[in-house]
């Protein structure tokens, strides 16, 4: 493709600290071979290969060159990022709780999230998973609350040194409320409070409360 930014600086490596060894002016033809994080490996017509940052290629890479500001491009970028992955740490009924989750955003406000978690207590451990529907009414705000409900499964097994206890296998329902803080274009911090209801049998259910906080990022 043809460079439409005033010039691009080619570096020896994919990082801001690597030296610039060549500058290619506007209207030169380049070929983009590879992307690594925010850096593009570029080959010029006379076979010089170097790494160029995304910022410097922004208008070159925009469909209608020059009509968009850098901020617009960032916003577009952000809106095309739909898949998020995160991990959180917290307490599940006063025991340490680790969870890993991934979510897919259907629209600005609606997303679906899958969570796997593990509670590691002194006497027993619990594995659980659930799939939630999340609503985030003010997702354009930097600090934005969200609400969710979901269903999943729950398996509790005691540490082997205890005698005469059984593993518990149950379905669970979960209701969540939390808040997200958008740190940057890619990173999000979140904290949430969840109320788990384990349906142990037709007539018996137990409730657990969990607090977690963690970090996530958009792919």
């Amino acid at each position: 493709m043809q460079i439409s930014d005033p010039y691009i600086e080619m570096r020896t490596g994919p990082g801001r600290g690597y030296p610039i060894f060549f500058v290619a002016p506007r209207n030169d033809w380049i070929e983009i071979e590879l992307r690594h994080t925010d850096w593009f490996r570029v080959r010029t017509e006379d076979d010089k290969v170097g790494w160029v940052s995304r910022q410097q290629l922004e208008t070159t890479l925009t469909a209608a060159g020059g009509t968009k500001t850098f901020r617009d491009v960032l916003l577009d970028d952000y809106l095309t990022r739909k898949v998020q992955l995160g991990a959180a740490w917290g307490h599940f009924k006063a025991e340490p709780f680790l969870k890993l989750w991934t979510s897919y955003r259907f629209s600005d406000t609606l997303s679906i999230e899958g969570t796997i978690g593990q509670v590691q207590g002194v006497f027993s451990g619990t594995d659980l998973w659930h799939v939630d529907v999340l609503i985030e009414p003010w997702s354009d705000k930097r600090i934005s609350p969200f609400f969710g409900v979901g269903l999943g499964k729950f398996k509790n097994f005691p540490n082997l040194s205890l005698i005469g206890v059984q593993t518990t296998d149950a379905k669970l329902g979960v209701a969540r409320v939390g808040v997200r803080y958008y740190l940057s274009e890619r990173f999000v911090m979140s904290a949430d409070y969840a109320l788990y209801t384990a349906l142990l049998s037709d007539i018996k259910s137990t409730e657990y409360r969990a607090w977690t906080a963690g970090l996530s990022f958009f792919f």
Partner: protein, 215 residues
């Protein structure tokens, strides 16, 4: 000039004057031409999908020092994603065989049911490339490198106990090519263990080296 002609001429002069004013507003003087002609290049290009290699998978091996039980050979695998130039996340699974041979010398029967127990761990960690740089191999070759710090949470399964585990450490990564890197890691795994009579927090240091492929 008589009255009649003046009456006719006045509106005409007024109109002409207005026209002139309007003209003056519409066309700038010729010598005040636009100084900078914006080089806006409107193109209709379809932004192609560029090949990228933000993901990594790797294998590693090294030594894992289990507190009170000596060190043993560890091996494992990692999968990671490089979010930006500075940050990455990774998930690691590793396992090792821990022996209680030292205890068996003075304590017939030992600690474990068998002479060795499997220790397996997994963790999810976030890393920061603290000192990115370059290494020079000979006089003609330079390869990118990164010194990174890393930390995270996970779980360790050892002697039928599953323990929440924190890990932190640092590492060094050298890119042999754009798609492959050599990686050295020093990590401390901190978890509590109830094996020697009392529940206590243990520090388990691991030193590994491995190869990582980017895709």
């Amino acid at each position: 000039m008589n009255n009649k002609t003046l009456c006719k001429a006045l509106p005409a002069i007024a109109l002409a004057g207005m026209g002139c004013a309007a003209l003056a507003q519409r066309t700038p003087p010729a010598n005040n031409d636009q100084v900078v002609i914006p080089e806006v290049d409107r193109r209709d290009i379809e932004k192609p999908k560029f090949p990228s290699n933000d993901f990594e998978v790797g294998l590693f091996t090294g030594t894992y020092a289990t507190q009170n039980f000596g060190s043993s050979w560890v091996y494992g695998a990692r999968i990671g994603y490089h979010i930006t130039e500075d940050f990455f996340v990774e998930g690691v699974y590793g396992q090792t065989k821990v022996s209680d041979e030292l205890f068996r010398r003075i304590l017939p029967g030992g600690i474990f049911a068998t002479t060795s127990e499997k220790l397996a761990y997994y963790n999810f960690s976030a890393g920061y490339n603290l000192f990115p740089g370059e290494i020079f191999i000979g006089g003609r070759r330079a390869r990118p490198s990164q010194f990174y710090i890393v930390g995270g949470v996970g779980s360790t399964k050892f002697a039928d106990q599953r323990k929440p585990t924190f890990n932190f450490g640092f590492g060094y990564r050298v890119y042999l090519a754009d798609w492959i890197a050599l990686q050295l890691d020093l990590r401390d795994h901190v978890f509590s263990l109830d094996l020697l009579g009392r529940r206590e927090s243990t520090q388990n240091v691991e030193l590994t080296g491995g190869l990582t492929v980017y895709f």
